[in-house]
């Protein structure tokens, strides 16, 4: 099972902070496409993705228990 975290506009749009989903074996790109469609989160394509708190590439593959987070363009400071 994998935990998927949403932040900022994505979190508001999804209506929740996180979901549980088994996406192990899928690439970041595949997870993005699935989640975008399932939750109507078109903006996910502007987001980066983190796996276990580290930025990941589109073709990185999710492992069992990985925590995935979608990171919209940041605006701290």
């Amino acid at each position: 099972m994998n935990k998927i975290l949403f932040f900022a506009a994505l979190q508001e749009k999804a209506g929740k902070e996180s979901i549980e989903l088994d996406v192990s074996g899928k690439s970041v790109k595949q997870v993005k496409e699935f989640v975008a469609q399932e939750y109507g989160l078109a903006k996910i394509n502007e987001s980066m993705t983190a796996i276990n708190e580290e930025f990941a590439a589109s073709d990185d593959v999710i492992q069992e228990n990985d925590v995935i987070a979608f990171i919209p363009p940041v605006s701290g400071g």
Partner: protein, 156 residues
């Protein structure tokens, strides 16, 4: 009381406390950058801000910025505290403190830190105006992040 060099906090930030984390007998200069909530941006009045962070990752990325700074300016010491939650006008959102034996390095490293925060640290700001609200980010998609990861070259 924040005592970690790189931290996300929901409490008001003490400038003295962040500075004390980097003060040392070898330092002759401490540059501090304080980001505060400004009332007007491009003529539009902000009522208050809301900051959200992916806290664990944000602290890791702040520490990573500290490591980058140590590579570039070896004798410096850096501490960064970023606040989250609801912030009013004039409240402090972030304090960066960089100590260094000589002043030039402290200015350059401090400036580098704030620029990198705006690039790689998962913190988001929502502006609340009289007539609406919006999560601020790179709305214009001027950056593609095609590789999924923001490289230094992409982002500077």
């Amino acid at each position: 009381m924040v005592s970690k060099l790189f931290s996300i906090t929901e409490e008001p930030i003490s400038i003295e406390q962040t500075v004390s984390l980097v003060s040392s007998r070898n330092a002759g200069a401490i540059n501090t950058f304080i980001g505060t909530v400004r009332e007007f941006t491009k003529g539009k009045r902000t009522l208050y801000l809301e900051y959200q962070a992916y806290a664990a990752m944000a602290e890791a990325k702040l520490a990573e910025i500290g490591q980058e700074i140590n590579q570039k300016w070896p004798e410096t010491k850096t501490a960064i505290t970023h606040r989250v939650g609801k912030l009013d006008i004039e409240d402090i959102a972030v304090v960066i403190a960089v100590s260094s034996p000589h002043r030039g390095d402290s200015y350059e490293a401090s400036r580098y830190a704030i620029e990198r925060i705006k690039e790689i640290v998962p913190i988001w700001k929502k502006e609340h105006w009289e007539d609406g609200e919006e999560w601020i980010g790179n709305q214009l998609e001027t950056k593609s992040y095609r590789k999924g990861t923001p490289s230094e070259e992409d982002l500077i």
